[in-house]
Amino acid sequence: MRAPKLLQQYALQWKSAAKDVLSHSVLFAQFISLLHITDTYICSPTLVYGPSMLPTLNFTGDVLLVDKLSPLLGKVGNGDVVLVRSPENPRKSITKRIVGVEGDTVTFLVDSGRSVRSNSVVVPKGHVWIQGDNIYASNDSRHFGPVPYGLVLGKVFCRVWPPEEFGPLRQ
């Protein structure tokens, strides 16, 4: 008479434990998904360093907030600072300024600092021309040509670190 009762109790315990685990894992999955959606479609922080954007961004490293929604809606234009997946190494992303969109004619110095020879190209359809603000130390479209719009990951709209320079970027 006792054994079935005990079994029943065990079963009940297991059931409640399983229910607990299930509800917790569902909550966890929802949390992770929300995090992922915010990160890929709304905005995300990035650390940027290097000399290529020097007057605008610091050499030692800035934390920027990147707006991921604008490139999806096609609202990225001339003068915006954008985060772009590097065409030379897809695991890296670079921060540059858009100088020309499709159909624009861009004139640039071929070898800045050493000669004054300039060259002009028309940006093809679906591409953008990106250039660093510091033209003497920047690896950008002058080197690898126009980049496809699909590589634009986001538009930088705000600086969070260092705290004394908090706020929107200079245009």
Binding site: Q30, L34, H36, E88, P90, G126, H127, F144, P148, G150
Partner: protein, 165 residues
């Protein structure tokens, strides 16, 4: 239970299901339809059939390859078109960075660092790297692993190395 409460509950359920599904399709795997006949022997083999009606093939696209961006020759990949970011194309990789590609116009081009050369299986009607050049690996958004529809062609994909024309 008041109707407002019920409506709110239903909306919440749909919302959470939606974001979970979107996350899974973004990070792990998703389904896509193959349009057009540019990959003809592999997908959509009978587009010009006598019935005149053609159904799209559905394929399973895995996204784990985006963590490392390591691809091999013969992989079928989904990528954003370089001339229009809203369009996605499906082609086969035939050249990786550093490879030399022979073009029919007696040209040989080298695939630059971080790029790949993609060609459709049906070379007669395919808009691929022969017209727009090598594409950056960053445009790739998944690798096709299985065909899931129509049912008589369910199965894995053979990653044969495609011979250049």
């Amino acid at each position: 239970m008041s109707p407002q409460r019920l409506l709110f509950d239903i909306a919440k359920k749909y919302f959470t299901t939606g974001i979970v599904c979107l996350t899974i399709s973004d990070r792990y795997a998703s389904f896509t339809a193959v349009r057009g006949s540019s990959m003809s022997p592999t997908f959509n083999p009978h587009t010009d059939s006598t019935t005149g009606i053609s159904f799209d093939d559905y394929v399973l696209v895995e996204k784990f390859c985006l963590l490392k961006y390591k691809f091999s020759r013969g992989d079928v990949v989904v990528f954003r078109s370089p001339s229009n970011y809203k369009e996605k194309n499906i082609k086969r990789i035939v050249g990786l960075p550093g490879d030399w590609i022979d073009l029919p116009s007696l040209d040989t081009v080298r695939v630059p660092e971080g790029h790949c050369w993609v060609v459709g299986d049906n070379s007669a009607c395919s808009l691929d790297s022969r017209s727009f050049g090598p594409i950056p690996l960053g445009l790739i958004c998944g690798r096709v692993t299985h065909t899931v529809w129509p049912p008589h062609r369910i199965g894995g994909l053979n990653s044969r190395t495609h011979a250049l024309p």
